[in-house]
């Protein structure tokens, strides 16, 4: 089961991968996941990632992050240093060469310092201060040749706090163990001493306050006024000769409990706070990740596919290879689907015979039969007048085929006319007729009204 840091980094890694994907695909994929999950359930990023990894091929490295590895190593080193330092510190505090007692005042001062440090670490973590961040970054760069992931940067503070509190806890624990071992294996003489003009009563009040948490149920670790009075020592006066040797050792339960209650316990509590804080900030970093809202949107929003990605089967028309010709002189002429070309066909009887359009097919055949009777040696040209803006259909192709069968030896010319009488249709419209004539074959040509640009007409 991955931790929340691993989840965050895995999510970030997936987010970076998804940048390359099309939004439509991502929406479909994540909506699919949301629909497959049971209804009413809040989206679970870990499960979402697990599903992606289960389907995908990158399962092996799913939760292997150099950043996490670095932090584990760094934390372990820090904690080990804390443990070692705990032993050394306590050994130093308890250093006793028989010449002078171990001053409980010094130990209390050290405990206070530790407490302050623990609180400072906690405040620093909660406030998000990162004065040590450049150090960590340079260390990471040196060890791993890479910068920390930006996804992790808001969590560096809480992570460092947790590491520091853990190290502090281990420090306290190893120091306490050192104390207990020293008590067992050495003859330690504790006392208290201060330059200040303090009475034993005042000092007793201080230690009673320190021992308040346990004085009720562990009186042996709560020094009495007699013990305080008996164990005061002065550097120049030498140790109090009246005090029994065992009295000097009676302080150890107090020292151990002070260490436990005022160093280890606060560290443990603050470690718990740091852990909760890290978890909270980890969740927040995930929900504020730029990919998170987008993912939620994809999961919640129905994937509407309007068919926008369906490719059209149509091909763009090819270029035509032929050119228009001039309008033949005194040809036979027929009007297709009601097209008229009075100005372009001088000397041709009007109205023109009709074909196509709303006429029946039989009427078309009759028209062709009539035209066949009009063929003479000098009139072997048939002009089929069409509307240039109307697309040429297969029905016209059929008519041209019938015409070439029934009017053998006659040259058929299509004459697409523009909306303005006498004008040459634009090249785009003429293009479709030229291509149509090429498709039909049988020598069919296309004529167009002359303009200055159309001087390249073929006779």
């Amino acid at each position: 089961m991955p931790g929340h840091l691993e989840t965050l980094l895995a999510f970030d890694r997936q987010y970076q991968r998804d940048q390359q994907q099309s939004p439509v695909f991502l929406h479909r994929r994540d909506r699919r996941y949301a629909l497959d999950s049971s209804e009413g359930q809040a989206p679970d990023i870990s499960r979402w990632l697990a599903q992606l990894h289960a389907i995908g091929s990158h399962g092996a490295d799913r939760y292997d992050f150099p950043e996490i590895r670095f932090w584990r190593r760094f934390s372990n080193g820090f904690i080990a240093a804390g443990a070692l330092l705990g032993v050394i510190t306590m050994s130093g505090l308890l250093f006793y060469d028989g010449g002078q007692q171990i001053n409980v005042t010094v130990i209390l001062g050290f405990v206070l310092l530790q407490l302050m440090l623990a609180l400072y670490t906690a405040v620093q973590g909660l406030a998000g201060w990162q004065p040590w961040a450049p150090l960590i970054h340079s260390l990471q760069q040196r060890l791993q040749k890479q910068q920390p992931s930006p996804a992790l940067s808001p969590l560096l503070g809480p992570m460092m706090t947790r590491t520091a509190q853990t190290a502090g806890l281990v420090f306290g624990a190893t120091a306490l163990i050192t104390l207990l071992l020293s008590v067992v294996f050495q003859d330690l003489a504790f006392g208290w001493s201060t330059t200040l003009d303090t009475s034993a009563e005042a000092w007793h009040r201080v230690v009673s306050w320190v021992a308040l948490p346990w004085s009720g149920w562990l009186p042996v670790a709560s020094p009495s006024l007699d013990l305080v009075e008996d164990t005061r020592f002065f550097r120049l006066e030498g140790s109090g000769v009246d005090t029994a040797s065992a009295r000097w050792g009676a302080w150890w339960p107090f020292v151990a409990m002070t260490w436990l209650a005022w160093i280890i316990l606060p560290r443990a509590i603050l470690l718990a706070v740091a852990t909760v804080d890290l978890r909270r900030k980890g969740r927040r970093a995930l929900t504020r990740h730029p990919g998170y809202q987008a993912l939620l949107w994809r999961m919640e929003t129905p994937a509407v596919d309007t068919g926008a990605d369906t490719r059209d089967s149509g091909k763009l028309p090819e270029d035509h290879h032929s050119a228009t010709v001039t309008v033949p002189h005194s040809p036979l002429a027929v009007s297709w689907a009601g097209a008229t070309a009075d100005a372009l066909l001088p000397g041709v009887d009007k109205p023109l015979p009709r074909a196509g359009g709303a006429q029946s097919l039989q009427a078309d055949r009759d028209t062709l039969a009539n035209l066949a009777h009009q063929i003479t040696e000098g009139r072997r040209q048939l002009v089929v007048v069409t509307r240039s803006w109307e697309p040429p259909t297969a029905e016209l192709a059929d008519f041209l085929e019938d015409a070439s069968e029934q009017l053998p030896g006659v040259t058929i010319t299509l004459l697409p006319v523009a909306t303005e009488p006498g004008q040459r249709p634009d090249e785009q419209k003429l293009g479709q007729w030229l291509r149509f004539a090429e498709r039909v074959g049988q020598g069919v040509r296309v004529a167009a009204a002359e303009t200055q640009e159309a001087a390249h007409g073929v006779q």
Binding site: S138, P302, A303, D305, T306, T310, A337, P391, E395, D398
Partner: protein, 484 residues
């Protein structure tokens, strides 16, 4: 026949080149459908289903046009005894001629209809009605399927009235629909009309309308998100370069050359980032073909992000900048011109014109950019970093915003049947003054933060997106009012 559980299918049929594909392109939001192809080259029907979470709500079938309607009708009339057998006769025609290449187009277009598809018959309302299309209308009537006629005006002329009376004799419903220019609400109205053809089609079409409406709202939110992100990146962008420490004399040639290089790179970045935003918004609205057309458009200098004209069009007045957060909306554009005594937009344009200044006038001197700054590079004794940017001028943010919102509006209003190049003609910037004061305030605050090179927090980012969403809404209203 289509059972009630199956999603309705609509065959879009008609004479060749009458705008069938443009209707399908607009309704399916597909700008890759080839429109105005050579008749006879579209030989196969193409289906465009509307799917929501994998469930098909309806399917549009783009069909080839009628090629030999009179021959088909002749065959049908020769094989029918009475009106009651007409649908079966049409089906028989399709079955008999399925492999006949002469009737391939007719079989393709009639096949979905005899399988139960509704008929959407498309005609061009810009050409006069002629009786020649009656053969194909008669064939469609013989199929006995629910039918709707669409008058899609392709050209400038209007012969809608004559079409309407003729089509009314053949089809249950006759609607006008301009596939290129119809606004989104009309798309939805048309889909609802499809649902009227049969009682059991009403619900899926209603559902489809609901999903499409939500999709459009989502797209507006996502556009606001995209614009907010681009705005933040463009305003805080900095060009930097590492170089030896020897280059430190202010005013030296090498220093000026470096500044010019970084400045050019900074401008280049801004142009590219804006281009990316455009593509993102276009992709969001399923417009994939515009980029290609835009390249051919030659994005001429006058409309460039840093041109003088752009500045005149999209910059806001100093009064607006000073008062954006405090209810300046009450003062109209004219009022602002008068109040600022020649410092506002109109006067700025005049001054700019008189000086004949190009982009360098405003952007060299007046668009404050944090110019070249040299700083030492940590950990490298003889190296330093030279940085150029970020922009220090709020106007830059307003120019980027104005252009982005205008582009969004054109894209969101553009139908997928449109094949014209996207033109973004200059507009005017007074649209901002129509926005709600809260919206203006939020935009101003975000831009101010970005100007100070401060990263927007999660909450601030969201506030900006909400404000931009309102701004998009406001811009649409402003546009509609301007047109009206």
């Amino acid at each position: 026949m289509v059972s009630s559980e199956e999603a309705p299918v609509f065959a879009v049929v008609g004479h060749p080149n009458r705008g069938k594909s443009s209707v399908v392109a607009t309704l399916s939001q597909n700008d890759s459908i080839a429109i105005a192809l050579e008749p006879g080259t579209t030989r196969e029907s193409q289906t465009y289903p509307l799917r929501v979470d994998g469930r098909t709500l309806y399917t549009l079938v783009d069909t080839p046009g009628f090629q030999r309607p009179r021959r088909v009708l002749e065959w049908l009339e020769a094989h029918s005894l009475s009106a009651s057998d007409r649908p079966d006769t049409v089906a028989a025609f399709v079955h008999q001629h399925r492999d006949n290449p002469r009737f391939r187009d007719e079989c393709e277009l009639l096949a979905p209809i005899i399988e139960g598809a509704g008929i959407i018959y498309v005609v061009d309302g810009s050409v006069p009605y002629t009786a020649e299309q009656e053969a194909e209308m008669t064939i469609l009537r013989w199929t006995g399927q629910p039918s709707l006629a669409l008058i899609n005006r392709i050209g400038p002329d209007d012969h809608t009235a004559s079409w309407q009376s003729a089509l009314g004799q053949f089809f249950q419903i006759v609607r006008n629909f301009d596939a290129v220019r119809a606004p989104f609400e009309q798309h939805l109205g048309l889909l609802k009309a499809f649902g009227q053809l049969r009682p059991d089609w009403e619900q899926p079409l209603e559902d489809a309308v609901g999903f499409l409406t939500r999709q459009r709202e989502d797209r507006q939110w996502r556009s606001a998100h995209l614009i907010a992100a681009a705005l933040a990146e463009m305003m805080t962008h900095q060009e930097s370069r590492t170089l030896p420490k020897t280059l430190d004399t202010a005013g030296s040639d090498s220093r000026q050359a470096l500044e010019a290089r970084l400045r050019e790179r900074w401008y280049q970045y801004q142009r590219e980032r804006e281009e990316t935003l455009r593509r993102d918004v276009e992709t969001l609205y399923q417009h994939h073909q515009i980029a290609r057309q835009e390249a051919a458009l030659s994005w001429h200098h006058d409309h460039d992000l840093f041109s003088e004209e752009t500045r005149q069009v999209w910059a806001v007045s100093k009064a607006y900048l000073a008062t954006a957060g405090f209810g300046a909306g009450a003062v109209g554009g004219v009022g602002i011109d008068a109040l600022t005594l020649g410092h506002s937009l109109g006067a700025g344009a005049l001054i700019g014109g008189l000086l004949g200044a190009a982009g360098s006038y405003f952007y060299g001197d007046r668009l404050a950019i944090r110019a070249l700054s040299l700083g030492s590079l940590k950990g490298a004794g003889d190296l330093q970093t030279a940085t150029f940017g970020p922009v220090q001028d709020l106007q830059f943010g307003y120019i980027v915003l104005g252009r982005a919102v205008d582009h969004w509006w054109h894209i969101s209003q553009r139908n997928h049947a449109g094949r014209e190049p996207l033109e973004l003609p200059p507009s005017e910037s007074h649209w901002l003054e129509n926005l709600h004061s809260e919206t203006r305030k939020a935009i101003q605050q975000a831009l101010t933060r970005l100007r100070k090179n401060r990263k927007l927090s999660h909450g601030e980012q969201q506030e900006l997106e909400v404000a931009l969403h309102s701004a998009l809404e406001g811009y649409s209203h402003w546009r509609l009012e301007s047109i009206a």
